[in-house]
Amino acid sequence: MSARTVLQEADIARALTRIAHEILESNRGAEGIVLLGIPTRGVTLADRLGPVISGIADTEIPVGSLDITLFRDDLSRHPTRSPKRTEIPDGGIDGKTVVLVDDVLFSGRSIRAALDAIQSIGRPAVVRLAILVDRGHRELPIRPDFVGKNIPSASSERVNVRLKELDGVDEVTIES
C-alpha cells in the first residue's frame, strides 16, 4: 500500500480561492448565495469557503450544513450510520443560489441524496456543486460546477482528504 500526496496545504487554499472567484463570477455577485456543506469534510470546506467569498465580495455569505444520511440509497449495504446535523442558515434556501460543497466527487450518489434532501427543505432558484477533488467514476448523470482539482484515479484506489480542523493536516493523498 503506497500513498502519494496530490494536493498540499497551499494547493488547497489556492483551489478554494479560485472556486470562490468562480462562484461569484457565475452568480454575477454575492446576491442570494447560500453555501451548504455535506458532512463531514464538506462542512469544514464550506466553513472555509464562506469567509473567502465574503472577503472578496465584502458581504456576509450564509453557510450551513446538509445531512444526507436519511436520503442515501445504500443504507442497507452498510452498518447503521448515525445522521449528522443539518443546519440551514436563517433566511432559508427558497429562491436562493445554493452551492453544495463536498470534498470528493466519486459515484455522484451522495449528491443525488443531497438534491433530495434539499427538496424536502425548500426550493432554491439554482443548485450548484463545488468539489475539492473530482476523481471520476460517476454512476449517475451528475457533474460539478466548481472543481478544485481533477484527479484521475483507479476505482480501487482510495482518495483521502485531510483537513486541519479534523485531521491536524491539510492534504489530499491517493492510496493504491
Partner: protein, 321 residues
C-alpha cells in the same frame, strides 16, 4: 440494534444514540416535507393484542414518515380471537415479509418470546407487555426531560444531576419500570411515590428511592414529576379506599403543581384521568409536557425504527439481550 425489548438491558451508549438520532428526526419534522425516503421498501407490522390508540398511531406515524409500509394488526376481529397462537400469528407475519414487528401484548415477556423463539427474522420492538416494560415510552420521556433541560444543546447529554419523581400505581405500570431503568442508566435520580398497596415486591432491588408522602417528595424540588395513570382495567382489588382519597393524597392538584420550583416539568404518559391523578390546572399549565411527549414520541420511534431497520442486516448475528 437488533431488537428493542426493554430498557433494563439497554446500555448508556445505545440509549444516548437513540436519543441523539431522535433529535435529528425531530429536526426533519419541522421541514416543508416531513417524509423521508429512508425506509422505503421496508414493512413494519403493528401487532397489537391490547387496545392502544396513541402508541399505535405514534408508531404508524413514525414508520410512515420514514416511508416504510405499515400493516396494522389488531387482535380484536382477527384470527387471534378465533384461537390462533402467538407462534402461528408470528409466522403469518413472517410469510408476509415483515421487517419489523411492533408488538403490544397483555402477557409480560411476549415480545421477548417473539424475538428469541426463532419464529421470525424481523426486528421486534416492545410497545408494552403486561406489567413488564414499555421502552419507547421511557425513551420519549427521557428525550422530553433532556430537551426541556438542555434545549438545543441536548445532543450527547445524559440526565445526570436531574431528579425525577414518579407518582402513582407503580405496581401495574410498565411505564414506571421502563423509566426507572432508563433514567437511572442515564444518571438521573429517581424517586417513586406510591400508595403502600401499589408497591411491587421486588422494588428494593430497583435503582430508585420509595416514598409514600407526595408532599414530602415534591418539597425536595424535583426537575420532573411524572404522574402515572390509574389503570382501572388492572384494578381487580381494593388498592385504595376511594378515588377521592387517592386524588387527595397522591394526585397532582393545582396547589401542589403551583408549589413546584421554577422550571420543573409535569409529565403524563396519557391517557389522563383528569381530576384523579392529575388536575386540569396541572395538565394544562405551561410546565405540562403532555403534548410535547406525544410529538417527541414520533421522533423517538422514528429513531428506533431507523436504528433497527436502516443498517446492514447480518442474520448471523444473534444478539441475545
Amino acid at each position: 440494534m437488533r431488537h428493542l425489548l426493554d430498557t433494563r438491558t439497554l446500555d448508556r451508549d445505545t440509549a444516548l444514540q437513540i436519543l441523539d438520532v431522535a433529535e435529528d428526526m425531530a429536526d426533519t419534522q419541522s421541514r416543508q416535507v416531513k417524509k423521508l425516503p429512508t425506509l422505503l421498501g421496508k414493512t413494519v407490522v403493528n401487532l397489537f393484542f391490547e387496545d392502544s390508540t396513541r402508541t399505535r398511531i405514534s408508531f404508524e406515524a413514525a414508520a410512515k414518515r420514514l416511508s416504510a409500509d405499515v400493516i396494522n394488526f389488531a387482535a380484536k376481529g382477527s384470527s387471534v380471537s378465533k384461537g390462533e397462537s402467538l407462534k402461528d400469528t408470528a409466522q403469518t407475519l413472517q410469510a408476509m415479509g415483515a421487517d419489523a414487528v411492533v408488538v403490544r401484548h397483555s402477557a409480560s415477556g411476549a415480545p421477548r418470546t417473539l424475538a428469541t423463539s426463532g419464529w421470525i427474522s424481523a426486528g421486534v420492538v416492545n410497545a408494552g407487555d403486561g406489567t413488564h416494560e414499555h421502552p419507547t415510552q421511557a425513551l420519549l420521556d427521557a428525550f422530553t426531560i433532556r430537551k426541556r433541560s438542555f434545549g438545543p444543546d441536548s445532543r450527547g447529554h445524559d440526565l445526570s444531576g436531574l431528579h425525577v419523581v414518579i407518582v402513582g400505581d407503580v405496581l401495574h405500570s410498565r411505564v414506571a419500570r421502563s423509566n426507572v431503568w432508563l433514567l437511572s442508566t442515564l444518571g438521573a435520580e429517581v424517586t417513586l411515590v406510591t400508595p403502600p398497596t401499589l408497591i411491587p415486591q421486588n422494588v428494593s432491588q430497583w435503582p430508585a428511592r420509595v416514598m409514600y408522602d407526595l408532599d414530602a417528595a415534591l418539597s425536595a424540588g424535583p426537575d420532573a414529576v411524572m404522574m402515572l395513570r390509574i389503570q382501572a382495567e388492572r384494578m381487580h382489588a381494593a388498592y385504595f379506599p376511594t378515588e377521592r382519597e387517592y386524588s387527595r393524597l397522591w394526585g397532582l392538584d393545582a396547589v401542589r403543581a403551583a408549589g413546584l420550583p421554577e422550571g420543573s416539568i409535569v409529565m403524563h404518559p396519557g391517557p389522563m384521568n383528569r381530576g384523579l391523578e392529575i388536575s386540569s390546572e396541572a395538565a394544562d399549565s405551561p410546565r405540562s409536557t403532555v403534548l410535547e411527549q406525544v410529538t417527541n414520541g414520533v421522533s423517538v420511534r422514528m429513531a428506533v425504527l431507523y436504528l433497527l431497520l436502516a443498517g446492514e442486516r447480518d442474520d448471523e448475528r444473534r444478539e441475545v439481550k
